[in-house]
Symmetry: C2
Subunit: 306 residues, 2 copies
């Protein structure tokens, strides 16, 4: 990809945050059809070695001739903001490769905003012809749900022995993971950790039980096998129709979500500040006030308004 | 409060979850005007001794002749769900007191749902004449934001030496806390912890810097002083107009939020399943599809529709 194209793509991604739900996503006219790329979501706690692993996965993809786009979804809390940025610097050798595109996506908005922006960014990389798209986030707040809703496969990276890792599974990671990577597999207690994890995962029915793979990313140990597994997964779900089904489900959720956002946007564009002030300063309950505002903007849903 | 009244109140609270934003909150006809009670929000990590402390605070309020309503906001994650329920059992002696009402509020819905339901529950206790309302949650997810948006004062309870406690402040607790309680003040390192906390809080401007109090709830040490502080705070903000201002701000946010929810509800009530299916199955982008659905339901915002 030449420098002009890269700059164009970078500019478009930096503008995603400013799109309202009513705006179309500006895609290149000569772009690839959306859905061409394989989208891999990666999440997991800080310190699990996520970015080293992603680095290695990207290298192996490059060796096999695939171009790779990486989006780091950054929930911009003061607590985690710096971590992803540091990762980006560590990846700087990859960033010199023309077949690699790395970008942080700082999402200052609400939870819904993260999901919307993540899919937009992935769509742009897809249209610009990247073969493999990696969507990365630290496992914080709603960003991991956003990753899952934008990915063909969601991969959760854990470190053995981290006290909360098995606990964390209970808080929602188990619902979104298609694949667990236990990184730092040479650490003491790694085998035990993998056994514990497998036991927890036995709660899930066979057909939706995530696989567990072990890697040691800083020695690239297990990473080629991980990429083999990813590619075989992608082929399998492409062939058996599961990919089409998963993407269709994501599309429905995305349309619902964008329509909700557009409805809220239109509500406040239609209402004047005076309308809000009037009900706020009245004696009516908040619920009555809300109802009156929506009726004023959209009618009462039973008959049209001129 | 007699048993019939209690049962009526309990039934109303249990129905809060089923209210849509368009429904009015069913308040008793002979109820107190909303805003009579002082609403105290309490949050903090598991294990900080929150419920022992709340127990003691409620006892002292009873000794001073106030009736007390306690709502435990339970985010119903499998990880935390059991903890609050266990707390309720520990409080069972208080529950025998006619001047105390304790209820868990399980909120299965979205983040917005928690905030809406918490205010509704507090409004009910207020209307039923409880003088002091305590809204409690474990500091998880969006529930602590919900507590803050429903409280006249938000109190964060910490335990000295808990590794993440000072860290956790960075992740949003500092924004919502009006008061920090360092409980278990006899633990080793408590003084140091209080100093560290005070240092972190120095980042905040004088006028909005939270107070720090130390307690040892299981020996009731420092708890009468805490209640004195709460009452003096309540008197101060009542007199200087800050309470009216805070509640007015909360009312605006609540109306906005309920209006957003009502707009979304009306969107999907207006649209047929066929409309959704048609755009989902089309070639159009998700953003276009959402726009078309909102236009179909509400018009395009520029001209009315019959």
């Amino acid at each position: 990809m030449d420098q002009n194209r890269r700059r164009e793509l970078a500019q478009l991604i930096s503008r995603i945050d400013r799109l309202t739900p009513a705006d179309p996503l500006p895609l290149p006219e000569d772009g690839k059809p959306l859905g061409t790329a394989f989208r891999l979501g990666v999440t997991g706690p800080l310190g699990a070695g996520k970015s080293t692993l992603i680095n290695q996965v990207a290298r192996i993809y490059r060796q096999r001739g695939y171009s790779v786009g990486i989006i780091a979804v950054d929930p911009t809390s003061p607590f985690t903001g710096g971590a992803l940025l540091g990762d980006r610097v560590r990846m700087s050798d990859l960033a010199l490769d023309d077949g690699v595109f790395i970008r942080s996506l700082a999402t200052r908005g609400a939870a819904g905003g993260i999901a919307t922006a993540t899919v937009d960014a992935a769509d742009l990389l897809d249209a610009y012809g990247f073969d493999r798209i990696i969507l990365e986030t630290v496992g914080v707040g709603q960003s991991e749900i956003a990753i899952a809703s934008a990915s063909d496969l969601t991969c959760v990276i854990l470190e053995p022995g981290a006290g909360d890792s098995i606990q964390a599974l209970k808080a929602g990671l188990m619902e979104i993971a298609d694949l667990f990577i236990v990184n730092k597999k040479d650490m003491r207690g790694a085998d035990r950790f993998i056994l514990d994890l497998a036991t927890v995962l036995e709660m899930k029915p066979d057909e939706s039980r995530p696989e567990i793979l072990a890697t040691s990313a800083n020695r690239s140990d297990g990473v080629p096998e991980m990429v083999d597994w990813l590619e075989s997964y992608f082929r399998r779900v492409s062939d058996n129709g599961k990919l089409v089904k998963r993407r269709a489900g994501q599309r429905v959720e995305r349309i619902r979500h964008l329509a909700n956002e557009a409805a809220v946007q239109q509500l406040w564009e239609t209402l004047s500040d005076q309308s809000l002030l009037r009900v706020v300063n009245s004696k009516m309950s908040a619920r009555e006030a809300a109802r009156i505002l929506v009726d004023e903007a959209f009618g009462d849903g039973k008959e049209g308004r001129g």
